[in-house]
């Protein structure tokens, strides 16, 4: 049970109290914390070991709120082609955007600086790619940076939201998305989070943005704190979820990190929402790092909620999900996300079923609706393509039209769910139509795929148009994505099973779509009636289901416990060791990645951020003296034998062993007095005769002077030169020649002790003053000089003082 008590968690960050979208301190209607981030934190999820990167104009990596979580390996500068994503600074702070987004995700908590990031222990990187010419190559490079290392890519940008643009990823960026979801995160799929767009005031529709419209991106919308539609919000059917953001001038905005190590309480727009969801997903990935890119979308669909978000178009689809074109499935719920993620079993493989309409041109008449249908079996005859339970639905259209902005397109699913694929756009005067443009909807999520799909196109001219030029639908294709089995109650994929630990949600039931495909009672019966074959990892006692976690005993090792559920595995995963006698995977000591036993001194390798100290088989944060931390091997390696301390390499010494001394970053043997270690000859060579110890053979390379020599500036001299006097200096016992006062040719010691002046100066009261006489220094004048003590001031001493002094 996690307490939803704002006083339970407190941070010393000064803007913490302004983070209204995370916690509420006021008990009134302005109190908004339905995103339940606090509760997710209270369960212990803060984004540890999750890597998020911000694709934007750079991030200020040395910002006090980002520096600790900054991850260089998750960063790159595509604009500058180097590894430093620091933004370019200018007087208008044009490049503040990425830094603002980064803080939302992973600002460090409790460091008394600004704010607390949603995943405040996640690692954060930045890919600087918006501060220059953006091309398909730039986007493809950016989307494909370190896909095995970076878990989540957050992008708060896109094509112009001007209500007339239709644009999306080019061929390379499209491939980069596909490679990312297929190969990223070692095959689990990169997670791309996208801001849905700010073109609300221009009547823009986010379906005309190919990034938010892609099935590979999680498109995120915004709501004001009061649950209203913000002025900038764009509607479309591809939006998956929503977070709080800014609204009208009287609505509160978002506080975050800002450029030049500052904080801002003025972050706005849908740019806010993508990083917020990226942070929430980071919490979910910490709860279960093995969830795939599609699992993440399923989790958002299942856990996001309409709460108080106001829209006229909220509807319940045939799978029981409440969905809207403004907010997708609603406000994200971090707590529900981590609870569901923790017990999540991956959904079955994605199938794709495509059906193309006949190639008959259909005319779109002005002020009329044109309907066309495709009847789909969900490719039931093709097991590899069979889609029974829907996820994304894509409609590809080839439309010729004299004014694109007059078109409205709807798709009606076999279950009767209507998705608006395109709304009229007042500013879109283009006559280019839609050339194989793909519209996407998530509104049929969970519905059955088979049946008649209807595409409905309306043309309502907003300007005078020639009635003879009609729009034409030349071809359309229906692409259904989903699974052949029920994703939640499929063969071997039992979500929320009784043997899993259920953490009660905080006064809110997780969404339970109706009609529920299988009731809990049916599930019980299904378990009791199981007579199929057991998993190959099961032992001789059999099983109560087909998966490895249904085994009654294991042939190799059992992993997990009664609370989390046990499963049989052939080898224990990282963080566990194989206890052969008990046939169990037992947990290594905290910090150990591989180990031979439970003890802290039984580690074989360490978790990220720690280093193996092999001498003691322990994992340490910093290596002991005589060792350095090797980032690649993640081990403490021994410094060179001559080094006492070293940095990053065995021979980059910072302190030397006894008998050696530091020459740059190398430890060389200490030589006898009067000699030094010659690095080229690799032997002790004599110093200059004036030196007692030295760094080289020259007379200016003395460290200490030979007997009967005095140190003068950088040399050792037999006696002090004119203008110097002999004396000891504090801390040094050897004699030194120190410089006399200015303009003194010789002196007896420090201060005003001149005995001889250089040419052009006269000695007056053991001080050298410029050799000039003052011809008007009469008695009255000298009295004035004396009474004002002008001669005590260096500036005036050069003028009439000498004359006055001589005059008494």
């Amino acid at each position: 049970y996690a307490r939803n008590d704002p006083n339970f968690v407190h941070f010393n960050d000064p803007k913490w109290s302004n983070m209204w979208y995370i916690h509420c301190t006021e008990k009134n209607s302005r109190c908004r914390s339905e995103m339940n981030i606090l509760s997710a934190w209270q369960r212990g999820y803060t984004g540890k070991n999750v890597v998020v990167t911000i694709l934007d104009d750079g991030i200020e990596r040395n910002h006090p709120d980002l520096a600790q979580n900054y991850d260089q390996l998750a960063s790159y500068d595509v604009n500058g082609n180097d590894h430093d994503p620091t933004p370019r600074y200018d007087s208008s702070n044009e490049n503040k955007h990425g830094t603002r987004c980064a803080g939302e995700v992973a600002a460090v908590a409790n460091n008394s600086h600004c704010i607390v990031g949603i995943a405040y222990n996640a690692r954060i990187g930045g890919i600087r790619m918006l501060d220059g010419d953006v091309t398909d190559v730039v986007e493809a490079k950016s989307l494909g940076i370190r896909p095995d290392y970076i878990d989540i890519y957050s992008a708060s940008w896109g094509p112009d939201d001007d209500g007339k643009t239709v644009d999306g990823p080019g061929p390379l960026a499209k491939q980069a998305f596909e490679v990312g979801i297929k190969k990223g995160r070692k095959g689990l799929g990169s997670i791309f989070v996208w801001a849905s767009g700010n073109g609300g005031r221009q009547g823009d529709h986010c379906s005309c943005d190919g990034y938010t419209n892609s099935i590979y991106t999680i498109s995120v919308s915004s709501a004001t704190e009061n649950g209203n539609k913000p002025w900038y919000l764009e509607v479309c059917s591809s939006t998956l979820a929503t977070t709080y953001s800014s609204g009208e001038f009287y609505d509160r905005k978002i506080v975050t990190t800002d450029l030049r190590q500052r904080c801002t309480d003025g972050h706005t727009g849908t740019s806010v929402s993508a990083p917020m969801v990226a942070g929430v997903i980071a919490l979910a990935l910490e709860a279960n790092p093995l969830i795939t890119w599609r699992d993440v979308q399923h989790l958002l669909v299942k856990t996001s909620s309409p709460v108080h978000l106001k829209a006229k178009d909220w509807k319940t689809n045939a799978a029981g999900y409440r969905v809207s074109h403004l907010y997708g499935f609603g406000l994200v719920d971090a707590d529900a996300m981590v609870v569901e993620a923790k017990k999540w079993r991956s959904v079955p493989p994605q199938h794709t079923c495509t059906k193309i309409s006949d190639r008959r041109t259909r005319y779109i008449r002005a002020d009329q609706k044109m309907n066309t249908t495709i009847t789909s079996t969900g490719c039931s005859g093709h097991p590899e393509q069979h889609v029974s339970y829907l996820e994304h639905v894509v409609v590809r259209v080839l439309i010729v039209h004299p004014r694109r902005g007059d078109l409205e397109i709807n798709l009606i699913s076999p279950s009767g769910t209507r998705s608006q694929l395109l709304a009229k756009r007042l500013f879109d005067n283009s006559n280019e139509g839609f050339r194989n443009w793909e519209f996407m909807t998530v509104h049929c999520w969970g519905e059955r795929a088979e049946g008649q799909w209807t595409l409905e196109i309306s043309d309502s001219p907003s300007q005078l148009r020639s009635p003879e030029v009609m729009g034409k639908l030349k071809e359309w294709t229906l692409i259904l994505y989903g699974t052949s089995e029920n994703p939640y109650y499929s063969n071997g994929s039992h979500h929320s099973r009784s043997r899993m630990l259920e953490i009660p949600s905080l006064g809110k039931d997780l969404k339970n779509p109706e009609p529920s495909p299988v009731s809990p009672q049916e599930e019980e019966e299904e378990e009791e009636e199981y007579n199929g074959s057991c998993n190959s990892e099961c032992g001789d006692q059999g099983c109560d289901g087909p998966d490895a976690d249904h085994c009654l005993n294991c042939i190799h090792f059992s992993l997990g416990n009664l609370k989390t559920g046990r499963t049989c595995v052939s080898h224990c995963p990282l963080g566990f060791f194989e206890d052969s006698s008990a046939r169990r995977c037992r947990r290594c000591h905290r910090g150990c990645e591989k180990c031979t036993g439970r003890g802290p001194s039984e580690c074989l390798s360490c978790r990220r951020g720690l280093f193996l100290y092999a001498t003691e088989s322990t994992c340490v944060e910093s290596c002991p003296v005589g060792f350095y931390a090797d980032d690649i091997q993640r081990q403490c390696l021994k410094c060179h034998e001559n080094c006492m301390k070293c940095l990053r390499d065995a021979d980059r010494c910072t302190a030397c062993s006894e008998g050696f001394s530091l020459a740059g970053m190398t430890c060389v043997p200490e030589c006898a007095n009067g000699t030094f270690f010659h690095l080229e000859e690799m032997k002790c060579s004599p110093c200059h005769f004036s030196c007692s110890t030295c760094t080289g053979p020259g007379k200016e390379e003395c460290i200490r002077c030979a007997r009967d020599f005095l140190q003068q500036d950088w040399m050792c001299v037999p006696e002090c030169s004119p203008g110097y006097y002999e004396g000891e200096t504090g801390g040094f016992h050897h004699q030194m020649c120190r410089k006399c006062e200015e303009n003194c040719l010789s002196c007896e010691g420090p201060g005003l002790t001149c005995t001889k002046c250089r040419d052009g100066y006269n000695l007056v009261s053991r001080t050298c003053i410029v050799n000039a006489t003052c011809n008007n220094a009469d008695e009255v004048f000298c009295e004035m000089v004396k009474s004002n003590r002008l001669c005590e001031k260096k500036l005036f001493r050069q003028f009439c003082c000498r004359t006055c002094l001589m005059a008494g």
Partner: protein, 86 residues
């Protein structure tokens, strides 16, 4: 009015045969191979220093012959894409 394309001096090129083959083709037509494009196998980023950095037209020249080389499966001069922060 429709926004006009801005052509750059960057190309995306698909060539099978590895980095060496890509380098050879780049050099043959006066380009510099800046390396593979992210994780996209066989796709290389080429730069031509004698083509103007930003232009309203896709300038023609000997470098254009790369599009016709039989070893080049696909090549595309990169166009500036208008992108806005949200």
């Amino acid at each position: 009015s429709p926004s006009r394309s801005v052509y750059t001096n960057q190309w995306a090129v698909r060539i099978t045969g590895g980095r060496e083959e890509a380098d050879k083709l780049a050099s043959k037509y006066g380009y510099r191979n800046l390396g593979q494009i992210g994780g996209l196998e066989n796709h290389y980023h080429f730069h031509h220093s004698k083509v103007v950095r930003r232009s309203a037209f896709a300038t023609k020249g000997t470098h254009s012959f790369i599009h016709m080389d039989s070893k080049v499966e696909w090549a595309q001069q990169q166009v500036v894409k208008s992108r806005v922060k949200r």
